[in-house]
Symmetry: C2
Subunit: 321 residues, 2 copies
């Protein structure tokens, strides 16, 4: 939610010229995307988003991210796609950073999703999972099961400073998940961060998906579990099963879940809650109170985790058939 790099007008004009996009008519830093600097860019040929990749995004991952959105867009998923310069390059450099110009995606994110939005999210996620098939690159999930214990080790000794007992909750959960995690679920490319910020709507219809910078190869069911956490809890932290039903209904209208995925859903939901509890916990302890991006409350995800611990089958989340 910030602009980390300032782009001088002369550097921008030369950069845009190399794409043949015509004269720059407007250019503004925008508060979107936690990992990168993003700019609204208008030229005589249209509207675009210019992204400068800051250090949290590994340069070596860019071909995956940029190639993925092109692959998905070619298979009907609406998402921003990179514009190629006159020499055919999509990933360039600007102000010492990797940079790309993307097509502009209309729409806006919903702040308080309703069940009708959750159904749309389910459909969109299902379509995304199917469309990822055949994409030639792979990216392991650095924030999957294997990444959680090392991440926790970085702040375990301070975790009770966030809330008493939090360290114990996480340690026990890690033990459980390493024991119970399903190893052979249907997998492919997942978005892995499909929060309300990252889906745009127009008139209650999804207009597109943004921010694929956590996308990776992992179990499809885990991506659904992330959405259960991100879309189906209320402000008061209660789980809204109507929203869960809508999410599964939408998803299954596009891709039907298998028995193993259904059975695994409670474990996947716990893992997804733990993943966000861990990254938020780490950020909470490692962000000064005045920083450019305010850290999000990790305890929301401790509460979600405790809820999931009480669920022993997918019907508890609203998966009816």
């Amino acid at each position: 939610m910030a602009v980390y790099t300032e782009v001088p007008d002369d550097a921008l004009i030369a950069f845009v010229e190399s794409y043949g996009l015509g004269e720059v008519t407007a250019f503004k830093g925008i508060a979107e995307g936690v990992e990168n600097s993003n700019f609204y860019l208008a030229t005589q040929t249209g509207q675009y988003i210019l992204t400068l990749y800051e250090k949290r995004v590994a340069r070596g991952d860019l071909p995956f991210f940029v190639g993925l959105v092109e692959h998905l867009a070619g298979r009907g998923v609406r998402c921003p796609v990179p514009v190629h310069d006159k020499a055919g390059q999509a990933i360039r450099e600007l102000c010492g950073r990797p940079a790309a110009i993307f097509t502009f995606l209309d729409g806006m994110s919903v702040r308080r999703p309703q069940a009708r939005h959750c159904e749309q999210v389910g459909r969109t996620l299902g379509a995304l999972h199917l469309a990822g098939a055949g994409f030639g690159l792979e990216r392991p999930n650095a924030l999957g099961l294997g990444g959680w214990a090392p991440l926790f080790a970085q702040f375990e000794d301070q975790s009770d400073g966030i809330a008493p007992g939090l360290g114990d909750l996480i340690s026990r959960e890690l033990e459980f998940l390493h024991r119970a995690w399903p190893g052979d679920l249907p997998s492919g490319v997942i978005h892995a961060d499909l929060f309300p910020d990252n889906i745009f709507f127009r008139r209650d219809e999804v207009s597109g998906v943004i921010d694929f910078y956590f996308a990776c190869n992992d179990a499809f069911g885990y991506d659904i579990a992330i959405c259960l956490n991100a879309w189906c809890f209320e402000q008061d932290h209660s789980f809204n099963i109507t929203k869960g039903q809508a999410l599964f209904r939408g998803y299954q209208a596009v891709r039907r879940l298998g028995d193993a995925e259904r059975a695994a859903m409670p474990v996947l939901a716990r893992g997804a809650a733990l993943r966000f509890l861990l990254t938020r916990g780490y950020d909470w302890l490692n962000t000064s109170s005045d920083a450019l991006v305010q850290p999000k409350d990790p305890l929301e995800y401790a509460r979600r985790l405790r809820f999931h611990q009480s669920i022993d089958q997918a019907s508890g989340f609203g998966l009816i058939q």
Copy 2:
């Protein structure tokens, strides 16, 4: 350079509906305007900027700011103007803050102005001064001569912490300015903050002026002096007299300076440098190192001030005739 208030989609949609601007097609917080939260807003009818006024802008000043841009635009100055809602109101409320929707201004600011830009700035400033005539509201300059000593009093005892001797430089300068300040120069509405950030260009032509939130009634020559400080110094803090010449040439092509204004220019330039030295000095000491908006270096203006102290007539800034 920040968004301080989050606007939920449902609140935004209801707000835009009351203007009859059609469906919202895009909405993004933008990093523009230090004092307010600004958003890029696109609807079926066009592109706009939504501004939410945060506490640094006094509610009572809004009729002046909003009325002024309408007055100026009606007299040929290109600037964003407020859109009126269906009931005819330009100043509304959104998320508990005063809010207004403005027309979108094409163009972008220049980071490293050349003499040709300075000439355009001079013309634009002259036109703005003429166009302000007849505007019915007045706003005293809170950051004019009378405001400097009280502002300095708030950090005088810490000023040498910024740089040794700074407190002495400012104290002596305040004494000088209170003695030497000219009292009867041609006056009217001035922009009072016409830095490169606040003028947009397209192909080296000014496309418009933004951010009138320091505008007030004061001497026109003082507004020129602010521009000398803001536009005519190089990165290495040297004064570029070619740029000064261009600024005056542009200004005088539109509004000719009188003898009293010419004679006063060295004093006005010192006052303008002190004004930014004081506000930056205050912000420097009162902004934590991690804040959303990084404070600007006050010492740039101590150097400008020392340069101006060496000049005893306007020709030293490039005013030839």
